[in-house]
Subunit: 274 residues, 2 copies
């Protein structure tokens, strides 16, 4: 097997399993090659991805060490995908009336949510979280992709407690978007007391859902270390939570003139903020 | 830029965007390289993935042609992941009583559903489908991953019609699992009459949900060309639909002896059946 082949295979395996640590021995066995040789392959793979700004490979020395792909999206690609989402969001056919916009096509588009998940993963990689948590339904795809990039389990909070979730804990909370009391329910089996969670959701208006999720997780002594939403509404300016990271801001929706004001969160492009 | 670097970059880009066609020109621009040179790179990438059984690259000649990664999982990896799912399914702590098993941890595990999605994609790649369709909630992750591998949109059928879905069509159907009449609802915006769909779901007992989805899609003159489920219950033997492809069979769950009988669908390992 030639170097080119081994380097290509290493890149494919690491790319498909982000943030998962592979020992040097794994690749030695796969390629039937010596450690010194595999070490050089990994260096070549690392250099290669950096050259074309396509990813970051980290090597960890010593026993229990190995190599992994750090979830990464370049500033240019992040900017590109946010502009794409904004462009699509401005389509006047999304206006459903009463302030509602149709966004299911975007939130169930695997390419869009994969890129969004990469941005969240890049943002939250250093928080040592144990889970990604979301609430059904439209936040599930982006939360799943974020969880995949971070190599973490996904926990999905349900609206109704289901028999198939086993024993659950439920709370009621006020949702400003729905303008009524809503219920959410989490399976006791899904979480471990004392752990850390990242909350990912598709849309935030007043922050009631995210606050509800935080309070429910607090019942299990679970700390929320980061919150990411794809779209955050500008109104109301005062949210029920303080710390959150939106990809896109939604401004005024003018139903008469059929205009939708959206713009990307430009702060994500400054590495110092990441 | 050296050959090794270009080959690695091609593999990363194609792997992250399965079933998406890239023109030769795209890579020529990216690498600032001649077509002849990029052609050789692509041949090298193709050979490499085949050698290590990690994927299939297809090149399409002529104008409008290009190169893409065919969604692929090797027989060995497919067997491996199905055995892993079976092993996890046999854990007696999953027994919830009344015939229910806890499976949310598996259905929300991004690595498991990604592999399952690869198997479904490999199975259904040649059906010229326009969408992957599922019904909320636990089928969404595996359906999303299948859609990603096939580069198709995902359509999620909701239990309740939501304002944010715009105009919807709903039906009532009898669910054997829930032992009651249930409702499902689809957004008219999500589908185009005359198209083709693949249905993906997490679990099938009697087939009522899948039959309901088919009937609702038929209202839009949408043909169901394939159905995949992660787990199919052996009982009842007679399902409401005839043609479906399960990854795992669930046999007897003995709540007294705390045993769960599961086994993989071995037919997936014969290429002639794919």
């Amino acid at each position: 097997m030639k170097r080119t082949e081994r380097v290509g295979a290493i890149i494919k395996i690491l790319s498909e399993n982000p943030n998962k640590l592979y020992s040097l021995g794994y690749f030695c066995d796969l390629f039937d090659a010596a450690k010194s040789s595999v070490s050089e392959d990994i260096q070549a793979a690392k250099q290669l991805l950096e050259n074309v700004d396509l990813g970051l490979i980290e090597t960890i020395a010593g026993a229990g060490g190995g190599v992994k792909l750090i979830p990464y999206i370049s500033d240019r690609e992040a900017e590109n995908i946010l502009n794409q989402i904004c462009e699509k969001m401005r389509d006047k056919n999304r206006i459903l009336g009463n302030g509602f916009l149709y966004t299911s096509d975007l939130m169930f588009d695997s390419n869009i949510v994969k890129r969004a998940g990469e941005i969240f993963a890049r943002r939250f990689i250093n928080l040592s979280a144990d889970y990604v948590v979301t609430i059904e339904t439209k936040g599930i795809p982006v939360a799943l992709m974020t969880a995949h990039m971070l190599n973490l389990p996904l926990v999905v909070i349900r609206r109704e407690s289901k028999i198939s979730e086993g024993s659950t804990v439920s709370i009621n909370y006020f949702s400003g978007s729905a303008e009524r009391i809503q219920k959410m329910s989490i399976s006791k089996r899904a979480v471990t007391p004392g752990s850390k969670a990242i909350i990912i959701d598709d849309f935030m208006r007043g922050g009631g859902s995210v606050k509800g999720i935080s309070e429910m997780l607090a019942e299990f002594d679970i700390e929320v270390v980061g919150t990411g939403v794809v779209i955050s509404s500008m109104e109301p300016e005062k949210k029920k939570i303080l710390d959150y990271f939106p990809l896109i801001y939604l401004g005024t929706v003018n139903e008469n003139e059929k205009t939708i004001e959206v713009f990307p969160n430009n702060l994500i492009f400054y590495k110092k903020n990441l």
